[in-house]
Amino acid sequence: MPVAIELVDISKRFRLQGGHSQPTTLKSAVVDFFLRRAASPERFAVLQDIDLLVEQGRTLGIIGRNGSGKSTLLKLIAGIYRPDAGRVVTHGRIAALIELGAGFHPELSGRENIIINAMMLGLSRREVLARVDKIIDFADLGGFIDEPTRVYSSGMYMRLGFSVAIHVDPDILLIDEVLAIGDESFAKKCTDRISEFRRRGKTIVLVTHDTGLVQRWCDDVIWLDGGIVRASGSPKKVIDLYHQAIAEQESDVLAQSYRTTEAEAGQRWGNRQVEIVRVRLTDRDGQERYVYESGESMTATFAYRVAKPVSESVFSFAILRADGLWIYSTNTALRQVIVPALGATGEVTLTVERLDLLVGSYFFDVAVHAPDGAPYDYHSRLYGFTIRSDSGEIGVAPLPHRWRFQPADEGSVD
């Protein structure tokens, strides 16, 4: 396959502005000169030693956290920035969906702005005029097309911008997180258009946080982290690595915060006749974790110590959403689980087979109390975990369900 985009050993640094790194006014430049203060601009590396080859017709996804250099890389490919080192080679016309409608003149009508914008994106006047009607049709702004763009809503602005960019008919389309455009039906039109692009063998580079989108669309993925390529290859592989890294990091942070918040946010009460001394949340493999995929199993292990022997005790647990909504609360008595006599110390494990919860942060409460409810030790909102999921569904918990479609036979009568 012929190559569409080739980056060789790209590095990009930015100057830091402000402070004494570099004068931003003439006045300070003159002062610096007379005080013999050398202005050596401080620079920081945004991208380092990036090599990248995109063949024609492929869709490349670039993922990474904020500040990882994704957008800078896109701007280098677009020719907006020039690298400090290395080489950018592209073949064919490029359109960048970076900020839609950049350069619209507020006093001019949508129609006039189409012409200007499309020419800036590289069309000749003749080409633009041939496409104006299609652009207007696609943007679907009705009578607003002849109104000055200053009266447009931000949604209309973006629709017009998208319509222009897509009709420039680029060989390479660069997309930076702009797919959430306007209402649902327009967003659908946009994704249809982009799918059509792929079918026609155009090259696409997509920068996004949305790994679901990357999985659906991309042939290859690179993961940028701190300006270097952490991983590249098939979407499945790279996204898994990316999620794992994020989960580990979140887990560390959460573990830290949940361990240290005992005194502050959470509450603990009871007479401590039986004391819960430690609670750990672990996954199927016994690894301590605070981030779970929806549907995974989670085991809580609590270590107890009996200060003053009690005849009977009830263990309970509850799961609350971060905003305080009770998801589920139960105990050994309600479930008729027999709690054997407790030794001086010991451990109790509780396994939740499936954490069928949707994305969000949750609290895990535990308690041990007397059969009449008098608390021995109650830990409220001291432990937390997070559920991740790519499903895009919303709510609290997925409910098992089934769809069935039964088209009526033509000609049949009810």
């Binding site: 430049a29 677009a78 907006i80 200007i116």
Partner: protein, 258 residues
Amino acid sequence: MLNFLSELFVYRQVLLVLVFRDLKARYRGSVLGLLWTLLNPLLLMATYSLVFAVYVRVEIPEYPIFVFSGLLPWIWFSSALMSGANSIVDAGTLIKRVAFAPQVLPAVAVTATLVNFLLALPLLLAFALSWGLPITWAILLLPIPIAIQFVFTLALTITVSMLGVRYRDLNHLLGNVVTLWFFLTPIVYPATSVPDRFRASLLVNPLTPLIVSFQDILYRGRPPEVLNLALAAVVALLALMAAVAVGRRLRWTIVEQV
């Protein structure tokens, strides 16, 4: 050097459309728009005529025509410089998001103000005729000083607009410089009235030979002096080289800083 300038050529269609956009936004109210363009030079001409021909009684025949013939090119120059100086900073969101040559923007300002200048010229000629001044064949030479001034103004405006991204206070300074520059240019007074021992100081001002050439053609009805045109052309080329030097240094960094 050529690379930086050839980008202007690559974007010539965009340049023209942007010029058209500027003019359209200005002349949207058609007749009234043109009136605003002409009002400023007319008011200035009337005021300077009152002050210098009536109050101070400068001995210059047809003083209003004299002032007008220098004012029009001056207004072209100063309005191009003042509107072009901000053009890159103002279009910050654009050049950060679209691969585009930023030097096109000051060029748009210079071209759009040139059109305003050309639209005001007939008014000057009409005044001259009504005052009984002959319009001679010298008027055919008008494109020469116009071309030279275009290059000089373009060079200066590109330089200032690019430096303006780095030095955000440049525009405050610019307003003052332009005001002083006006009085140091022989517009409300003739170059010949400057005492001999100060005459050389006029040559420090690169606009002097240009304005005098315009006055020669439009007011005195004679061809401009070759020396003046040559001087102006050399200055314009030097300014252009300086603009390219600045532009090549800043062309890519301003995209990051704007």
